[in-house]
């Protein structure tokens, strides 16, 4: 049912975007329609996320781009609601759920000679979460356009639904949500908690030779508010008593990424390598290494293959078992989490994409209307190795993710 709804939504978005994109007054109109499907098979806690989306951009004058878009996350699956360590008398069971997240977004870009300024707004809603985000970015080119600097800032104002505990309720007495019923209404057993997010980013792109360019990106982020999963409980006593996750209210995060692009002329291919170092105040250290190879197979077809390796340490307060044996005054006594993304893990991603593109021009449009058209399809396989996380002593079996994507881009 969810899948049928997603396919219907995708087709609807596609036809709407293409219909809206018919040129009547603008110089250039571009439309993007895409769908991504994420599937994680499991005997108990499978997950299916279908993400259709569409964007339309209009250039009424050559220095202004106005764009609007819509995206949905249609989620169906099952997940364990209570995290326990290897405690014999706690049986972990998965609970089925489904939800749809809608995101509406819009913005504009001013572009003059060597400078551009972009501003965007996005509003997201689902049964248990509301989000608003504004972002601004500005970039400029220097030294005969060989150097490009860009800075950006984004601010998120999110709200998450939880049970209606008060400040006087101790963390170990807080209960988790059992459903999203009553969220964002005046129901007495529900409450809204704020999450504030600030993201700062600076990027430097440099062309060194006609076939070699590099990029350095520095990102800083601050999160404040309710950073837990409101549905997840954690067993915190040997008798099997569970409480809502309890994580710090603040998190500062930093990442530094470098990458290089090199074009190999004899085979008409571009090779990219990159690395990223991540650190945050929850004591997580992450390292990412990426490689990508994209080659022309004829003038209209590009084939891409990429690989990615990621590894991280666990959060300072992470434990697979909070029921005893931890330092009495340590962070594992103060905080508890069932989030496996806060545990030590590594992952490998392998994937590829085929893209077919055709380029017209104002005097000779494709099919009499298109300046440019491209269609692509891709597949990624992500395998995660959880080094310490278990559901009641049992290793999760939902650690393989398959991502299938398809996209169409048309310019009129």
């Amino acid at each position: 049912m969810q899948l049928r709804r997603a396919v219907g939504l995708s087709l609807g978005l596609g036809f709407s975007a293409l219909a809206l994109a018919r040129p009547s007054f603008a110089e250039v109109v571009a439309a993007d329609v895409r769908t991504t499907v994420l599937f994680e098979p499991s005997e108990t806690s499978h997950l299916l996320v279908v993400t259709p989306g569409a964007d339309v951009a209009v250039k009424p004058v050559d220095f202004l781009d106005v764009h609007v878009g819509y995206e949905a996350d249609i989620v169906t699956g099952a997940t364990e609601a209570v995290k326990s360590g290897p405690v014999a008398d706690v049986i972990t069971t998965a609970t089925a759920f489904d939800d749809t997240r809608h995101v509406f977004k819009g913005g504009f870009t001013f572009e003059r000679k060597s400078t551009h300024v972009t501003a965007n707004y996005a509003y997201g809603m689902e049964h248990d979460y509301r989000s608003q985000a504004i972002s601004v970015s500005a970039g400029s080119e220097f030294f005969q356009k060989n150097t490009e600097l860009e800075i950006s800032y984004a601010r998120g104002f999110d709200k998450v639904c939880t049970t209606a505990y008060t400040g006087a309720t101790g963390p170990s007495a807080r209960t988790r949500l059992d459903s999203s019923d009553g969220c964002f209404t005046s129901a007495p057993d529900r409450a809204e908690r704020d999450i504030d997010i600030d993201v700062f980013q600076a990027g430097w792109t440099q062309a060194w030779t006609p076939v070699l360019s590099t990029q350095l990106v520095l990102t800083g982020s601050l999160q404040h508010g309710f950073l837990e999963n409101p549905y997840r409980g954690v067993v915190i006593t040997p008798a099997g008593l569970d409480a809502l996750e309890n994580q710090p209210d603040n998190r500062a995060r930093g990442a530094l990424a470098v990458r290089a692009n090199y074009f190999i002329k004899p085979i008409s291919a571009a090779a990219t390598v990159g690395a990223r170092l991540y650190r945050d105040t929850w004591d997580i250290l992450g390292q990412t290494y990426e490689a990508q190879f994209e080659q022309y197979v004829g003038p209209a077809i590009r084939v891409l293959a990429h690989g990615r390796y990621y590894t991280q340490t666990g959060a300072l307060f992470w434990s697979n078992d909070y029921t005893g044996g931890e330092p009495r005054y340590g962070p594992r006594g103060q905080y508890w989490t069932g989030d496996r993304e806060l545990s030590p893990l590594s992952s490998v991603l392998l994937g590829g994409r085929v893209l077919v593109g055709f380029q017209g021009n104002p005097g000779s449009r494709l099919l009499g209307a298109l300046l440019r058209f491209q269609a692509s399809g891709g597949f990624d396989l992500l395998k995660t190795n959880l080094k310490d996380f278990t559901w009641g002593g049992v290793n999760p079996d939902d650690t393989t993710s398959m991502i299938v994507s398809a996209a169409i881009h048309a310019e009129f």
């Binding site: 005969q144 980013q201 929850w282 005054y329 993304e341």
Partner: protein, 89 residues
Amino acid sequence: MNEHRSQSSRRLSPALPARPLVLVALTVVVALASSACATVRPEQRAILADPTMRFEGEPGEKAAREHVLENRESSFGGGSVRGGGCGCN
């Protein structure tokens, strides 16, 4: 558990120690200064403007993959920004 919470004295660590930050800042300044020496003339930029040389790739596709990865790991940020390709004068 509550007692542990109220009496905790251990603090969470800072994002980045000061010395590596200074090192990163110095590296960036030196690299930026040296970037002025790069002389790729406008007529030599055809390959740099090729879609395969764009760091941001196909933005929609990249954003979808990053959305999945951000929900499967703790790291965040450092994503590609636009740049790397312009054949214009």
